[in-house]
Amino acid sequence: MQYAILCYHDENVVCAWSKEHDDAVMAKLAVVQEKAARQGKLGPVARLLPTTAATTLRKDREPPVIIDGPFAETKEHLLGFYIYDAENLEEALAFARELAEVNPGGSYEIRPVGLFKDGKQAP
């Protein structure tokens, strides 16, 4: 069984970390990740950029609307995610709209990825 592990924290606090502190945390995490990767158990790892860089496509209405900021409703739940390599925000939104057409209801939050490791072990 594959498990997704979703990371939650107070963004304002993490943004207030000094670079040294941030680097130290990332280095410690890398050690744990490498161990799992050696066992062939680790899939992709992503660190998202701050929510201020997010855009949300609300597809619970017709036509869907695009709003600035992260997804903020609490009565809906995270059910899945895509990683899409886009030239710019417009292209990412176009893909999200395509998905929305065949699957209305709920929202898509479009958030740039800051760090991505595909989880494949270095040879």
Binding site: N12, V13, A16, T52, A53, I67, D68, L89, P112, G114
Partner: protein, 427 residues
């Protein structure tokens, strides 16, 4: 070693909201600052053993408020302080406070605090120093180091600024829409000044001054959290991120500045660029262009070019043209001319800047750019005059070194290459 860095990060991130709420409560900047200080001290004492409260900001506001009230009482009739276990157990009070601190309320509180520190009546250097002291919570020695002045001088500058805004009347009611957008614009302007204060620093000062760029980015992020759909604030943050992303590539090992076309782009910070580009895209979706958006779009075009020669100079020249319309200034025209020289050649660019000679005669970049255009047009004699003028106006050794390189190239093409010694650096 017990790790208390997490507490510092929590205190730093909570600080603007805490000081802002205490300022509304006490209506006195000094009292608010002291109360916040006291609350932070208690947090440092209690949190390592008790763990952090659910809502750190609410905890600090309550403790700060109570501590100040206790202090007043103590002065009056020496009442005993409640012991710390009672103060730290705030769960009931906490939720009540959180309710009172509804989003709109604390948004205007923080904006008011930022605006007080960025008050238009204060000179720019005082605005920046005050914002760093009060909102960011940097210590006076830290700020003094960043500004390359003595601690005593900085202490005096901050005291003066506080005295001055003590007299300025900042209303405590929630601002109207027009007033709110004026405050946002004033704060944004000071944040960009703060950023530039750090960005224009010379390499030897970089360590001490990088903190200015980082704080400007953090405060811009805070402002954007408060006003998430303001395209100019999105763009301001983007502009800072895109420029700061080049920090590691801007100076070589000898401390000479490396100009944009010569920078090693693999040293640019991809994470900051990614965030900046996303914000520029977001801002432009609003179709309400403004000066920060234009400047961020220009920075984005540089960031998107994998090699210097891939830069879309024609588009950059158009954007500078738009900026010139919004904020006419000879410096903007000069920048447009530099873009035009890349897109259409030096002759057109030189024609654009000749009329600026009067206004920009004391400006290093004007003579540097003019020399470069003349050099490209193979008017070596005039180029040398322009470069000599530029070198006399250089603000930093790195700027002078850059012009000297051009002069050496000129001299090289006509014979002897004179490598001069770096001038002694003023402390």
């Amino acid at each position: 070693m017990t790790d208390t860095r997490w507490i510092n990060a929590v205190l730093t991130s909570a600080r603007p909201r805490v000081v802002a709420a205490l300022l509304r409560h006490f209506r006195d900047l000094d009292k608010a600052e002291e109360a916040c200080q006291e609350a932070c001290l208690r947090a440092l004492r209690l949190w390592p053993t008790q763990g952090p409260p659910r809502d750190a900001a609410a905890w600090l506001i309550m403790v700060g408020r109570n501590a100040a009230i206790d202090a007043t009482r103590r002065q009056r009739r020496l009442t005993a302080l409640p012991d710390e276990d009672t103060i730290s157990d705030l769960s009931d009070n906490e939720s009540a406070t959180v309710e009172r601190l509804d989003a709109a309320d604390y948004r205007d509180d923080i904006l008011r605090l930022l605006f007080v520190c960025c008050h238009p009546e204060l000179p720019a250097t005082q605005q920046i120093a005050l914002a760093l002291r009060i909102v960011s919570g940097l210590s006076v020695p830290q700020i003094a180091r960043a500004f390359l002045v003595t601690e005593a001088a900085m202490e005096q500058r901050i005291t003066r600024a506080k005295r001055r805004i003590g007299g300025a009347n900042v209303p405590f009611e929630a601002p109207g829409a027009v007033e709110r957008s004026e405050r946002i614009a004033a704060v944004a302007g000071v944040l960009y000044l703060l950023f530039n204060e750090g960005y224009t620093s010379d390499v030897a000062e970089q360590g001490a001054r990088a903190v200015l760029c980082e704080e400007a980015i953090r405060l811009a992020r805070l402002l954007l959290h408060l006003f998430p759909v303001e395209p100019e604030i999105q763009a301001l943050l983007a502009l800072m991120l895109l420029q700061h992303a080049r920090a590691d590539a801007r100076f070589d090992d000898d401390g000479n500045s490396v100009l944009l076309p010569n920078q090693d782009r693999s040293q640019w910070n991809g994470k900051l660029i990614g965030e900046g580009l996303a914000l520029v895209d977001k801002a432009f979706r609003h179709r309400r262009p403004g000066p920060y958006q234009i400047q961020a779009a220009i920075a984005a075009l540089h960031s998107r070019a994998t090699r210097a020669e891939d830069t879309d100079w024609a588009q950059i020249a158009l954007l500078y043209g738009a900026l010139e319309q919004m904020q006419p200034s000879p410096v903007v025209t000069l920048n447009r001319a530099v873009a035009v020289s890349k897109a259409d050649g030096p002759a057109a660019a030189l024609a654009m800047i000749e009329p600026l000679a009067g206004q920009l005669d004391g400006y290093f970049y004007f003579h540097g750019a003019r020399g470069a255009f003349l050099l490209e047009l193979e008017r070596a004699g005039e180029a040398k005059v322009a470069f000599d003028r530029a070198i006399a106006l250089a603000n930093t050794p790195a700027e002078a070194a850059h012009i000297r390189l051009q002069l050496d190239r000129l001299a090289g093409s006509s014979g002897g290459v004179g490598k001069r010694k770096e001038p002694a650096k003023n402390s």
